[in-house]
């Protein structure tokens, strides 16, 4: 059974991979392909957010009583990312590559520093408090790898 941090960090990498694919396609102005890659990326991000916001964070908050702390900051950054991805979607629909690339650069930085905070600080905390909860880990795994 994989640890919580291993599972979610792996998923970060998978999302990065999809991000790079989509961004490279936009840079090549390969629009139809870019749109489908970006949709894939966005769906993977939605699954990741859902695993955290609907399963991991509530369990962590219930266990530790820390509801205004790190999970709150992470939720706020998720909202910022959703917002950026919405704008990127609009840029793809307008086939405006420079708008997309300005937004994607911003998203990448936001995403990577966000992931770093989760991987360095929050996930190890969840490993310590919830690592023994096999049911929770299974549920996370299912959410992350659900077929769209």
């Amino acid at each position: 059974m994989p640890q919580i941090s291993a599972l979610l960090a792996q998923d970060h990498n998978a999302c990065d991979e999809l991000f790079a694919e989509a961004e490279n396609r936009v840079a090549d102005k390969a629009w139809p392909d870019a749109a489908s890659r970006f949709a894939e990326f966005r769906a993977a991000m939605a699954r990741h957010f859902s695993a955290e916001e609907d399963t991991l964070f509530p369990a962590f908050e219930a266990r530790t009583g820390m509801s205004g702390g790190p999970t709150q900051v992470m939720r706020a950054e998720h909202a910022q990312m959703r917002e950026l991805m919405e704008q990127m979607q609009a840029a793809i629909e307008r086939q405006n590559d420079s708008a997309f690339l300005g937004l994607s650069e911003t998203l990448l930085m936001l995403m990577r520093q966000h992931n770093m905070k989760e991987e360095q600080i929050l996930y190890p905390m969840t490993d310590r408090t919830l690592g023994g909860d096999a049911g929770l880990i299974e549920q996370l795994d299912e959410t992350l790898h659900a077929k769209a």
């Binding site: 840079a27 708008a99 300005g102 930085m109």
Partner: protein, 403 residues
């Protein structure tokens, strides 16, 4: 930066020897005024994110550090150049306060760090190196200003420079790179062995170099060579590994930061190749080669790395804080590329690279021939200044507040 470059055309004596007052003054303008500022500022920003421990009183520390480094760096440069004891003393007092406060605040964060990760050890090592550098710097500066008699002036100056450049600058850049290089270009991570050992090897080389001071002449020379060999091999390992993982990046877009870094790593490799000649080359060329080594390390490597990083950090923080402060929707505020358009950053890169390249033969040529390179570097400093000002103006226009 701007001050450093504007001052350069005035001083043709600096090319003669790295011991010349002008060279010492200019070096400190670059290291304290530009590199020191940016590195202290970014660390205050990075420590909480990367190692999970906030720096106590970060805003106050930043304020003191900024003021102290600006004024202290400027006074020290002028003081060293013109050999004015009271200027040097005033500068040392300012720098001691600025860097002392930073070291103390950073120590709290580094001791409390919760996250066990690859960056923590390099940051602690860099902290130590800065402490040694500042300590030696205060001792040397105080001696030059006549506060106390100096012994071993040349050897200790050598040590001060080695701990400052290979210790503080290179160890910190390497440690930070473990995070930011994969982060910015989506490259594979650095090899585990490198992240585990590289900065320890650099530190070991510095310690060997310092211990050599205590030995009799013949043994000391052998030990110094061992130290330089170790430092050279580690440095080359790091530069090659960086270039390799960057080649394997998943993000293929053209990127000014990437280009700054590639230039910086090439410069670092050039330093490794140059160093043996600068240490033991033909007598007649040695002074020039040492100045050249300084140019390649400071301008080619360190300034390039820092400039490249600024083009990511500044627009990101501008966006991030603007968004957080105004709660604006993403589409209604400038994104990172709006804050720092690629063509403007590219202009800076080109001026910088050509300027550094033109300056390379300068130590061996009559002084006037260094002028074109210096003018280009001054222009590159000016362009960078304008680019950063522009981002700041935009930040203000959209309602951002500087804390």
């Amino acid at each position: 930066m701007l001050a450093a470059l504007a001052a350069v055309p005035l001083a043709d004596e600096w090319l003669g020897s790295r011991w010349s007052p002008a060279a010492l003054g200019l070096t400190h303008l670059i290291t304290l005024g530009y590199l020191g500022q940016v590195m202290v500022g970014s660390l205050l920003q990075m420590l909480p994110v990367v190692i999970g421990a906030p720096v106590p009183g970060a805003i106050l520390v930043a304020g003191i550090g900024h003021a102290g480094l600006t004024l202290g760096g400027l006074l020290l440069a002028v003081g060293l150049w013109q050999a004015v004891p009271w200027l040097i003393q005033a500068a040392l007092a300012l720098l001691a306060v600025a860097l002392g406060v930073f070291l103390a605040a950073a120590a709290v964060s580094l001791v409390r760090a919760r996250a066990a990760n690859v960056v923590l050890q390099p940051m602690r090592q860099a902290w130590l190196a800065l402490l040694v550098t500042v300590g030696l710097g205060l001792y040397l500066g105080g001696g030059l200003a006549g506060a106390w008699p100096l012994i071993e002036l040349q050897a200790l100056t050598q040590l001060h420079a080695a701990w400052g450049l290979l210790g503080w600058v290179l160890i910190l850049v390497a440690g930070v790179a473990y995070h930011v290089v994969p982060m910015l270009q989506l490259t594979p991570p650095y090899p585990q062995g490198l992240m585990r050992w590289l900065t320890w090897l650099l530190l070991a080389a510095l310690v060997l170099h310092a211990l050599a001071l205590l030995l009799p002449a013949a043994a000391a020379t052998a030990m110094e060579w061992a130290a330089w060999l170790l430092a050279g091999a580690s440095t080359a390992w790091y530069a090659v590994a960086t270039l390799q993982i960057q080649r394997r990046r998943r993000r293929k877009l053209p990127d000014v930061t990437l280009q700054f870094w590639r230039f910086a790593m090439s410069a670092l490799l050039a330093c490794v190749g140059l160093a043996p000649f600068a240490l033991a080359g033909p007598e007649a060329w040695r002074d020039g080669l040492q100045v050249l080594l300084g140019i390649v390390f400071l301008l080619g490597f360190a300034v390039s790395v820092v400039a490249g990083m600024l083009y990511k950090i500044v627009p990101f923080l501008a966006w991030f804080h603007l968004q957080a402060q105004t709660q604006a929707r993403a589409g209604t505020i400038p994104n990172m590329k709006d804050f720092m358009p690629e063509p403007l950053a590219l202009r800076h890169l080109r001026l910088h690279v050509v300027g550094v390249l033109l300056l390379l033969p300068a130590p061996f040529l009559p002084a006037p021939l260094s002028v074109p390179g210096l003018l280009l570097l001054a222009a590159s400093g000016w362009v960078q200044w304008r680019n950063l000002r522009r981002a700041r103006r935009l930040f203000g226009q959209y309602g951002g507040r500087l804390v």
